[in-house]
Symmetry: C2
């Protein structure tokens, strides 16, 4: 059985992945944990420890091959496969997220955009028409939907999440300002913008002292 990797490590992986991607773009072939630690402002020890959770990607006396390590971390994160994404809630945030994922993230493909508001029905957001929520079951049945981004008011978040799970969507990227606990058999990733802004506010207050 695999040893459980701590969420602290998982949170750092995307950052490694990003730095390695930049090194790759810059044509850097190899890098040592020490050099990387200076760029990323973390300890070299932590880098080696983190990577070793998943196996020995480096070579003594040489360091890490950038392309190889980048690819391996990509595999670990699962971003080398394609994931189909739908967005529920076609407001500003929903449209922004749809556009953001489309342009910024390979590995994730926006294939549907839904809302309850009949006025939005059929409206084109880039190359996707806004569909009504009652078309969702049919859509999910006919398409391999893996992730649903929830960009809707918190009042509707939980019921929508439950519906999605019952339809077979087991991963939710939740932007609604509410916790979606108590839903079994689903993977949730929360983006609480309010929380982030309040943390900023706290740190401003501290900084002033």
């Amino acid at each position: 059985m695999d040893k459980q990797i701590s969420q602290a490590v998982i949170r750092r992986l995307p950052r490694y992945y990003r730095y390695l991607g930049e090194l790759l773009d810059d044509g850097v072939e190899r890098i040592s944990s020490n050099d990387l630690s200076k760029r990323m402002h973390v300890t070299a020890s932590q880098i080696r420890q983190d990577l070793n959770n998943f196996g020995g990607f480096g070579q003594q006396g040489y360091g890490y091959n950038v392309a190889y390590l980048h690819d391996e971390i990509g595999n670990i994160l699962g971003v080398n496969d394609t994931h189909n994404v739908i967005v529920i809630g076609a407001g500003n945030l929903g449209q922004a997220i749809a556009g953001y994922v489309k342009f910024e993230r390979v590995g994730f493909k926006i294939i549907g955009l839904f809302d309850v508001n009949p006025e939005l029905k059929g409206k084109m957001v880039r190359d996707l028409p806004v569909q009504m929520l009652d078309e969702l079951p049919e859509f999910v049945k006919n398409n391999n939907v893996e992730i649903a981004a929830l960009t809707l008011p918190k009042q509707n978040a939980k019921s929508t999440a439950l519906k999605l799970v019952s339809l077979g969507v087991h991963a939710i990227w939740n932007f609604a300002h509410v916790d979606l606990d108590d839903i079994p058999d689903v993977v949730i990733e929360n983006v609480h913008l309010s929380d982030s802004l309040m943390q900023l506010s706290y740190n401003i207050t501290q900084h002033k002292k």
Copy 2:
């Protein structure tokens, strides 16, 4: 001198604040750490420990007064004061953030929206006109700008951040997919949506096993 509060605690404060707000809305007057722990799915011990970093807000044998605790945490987070916010980058995400903060968060007020694209000049986004970036110095001089949200491509993020700091804006809510280290005397809060999505992807992969 104040003892330094760990970021782990700070990250939890907004969540307490949210739950207390909901209790307040529901007319609940008092709550024990034990009851709150059941709702929030954290240990009662952690709640008491966290709150005690800031002082004794509760009463033995009684619990915590919801309204009082909510207000105190609001003070700690600094959300009971008003903070003026500008948004740099009037794309989808910038417009979404501007709208989001406006409608969801009291305590934060969007007062300006900037972009480099001349085609957007003067375009109204709700009640705010898009201004050109060269109007920024004058605007900052005449308005008490505390926070700048950066919703622009990563290539421009660092130079814009440096400019903002030189103009006197010392808090940045960064949505660009780049780290803004090495900038002294500024408080940064990052929202890396890509990282969040990759964490979700990782957890999906694990879940399938």
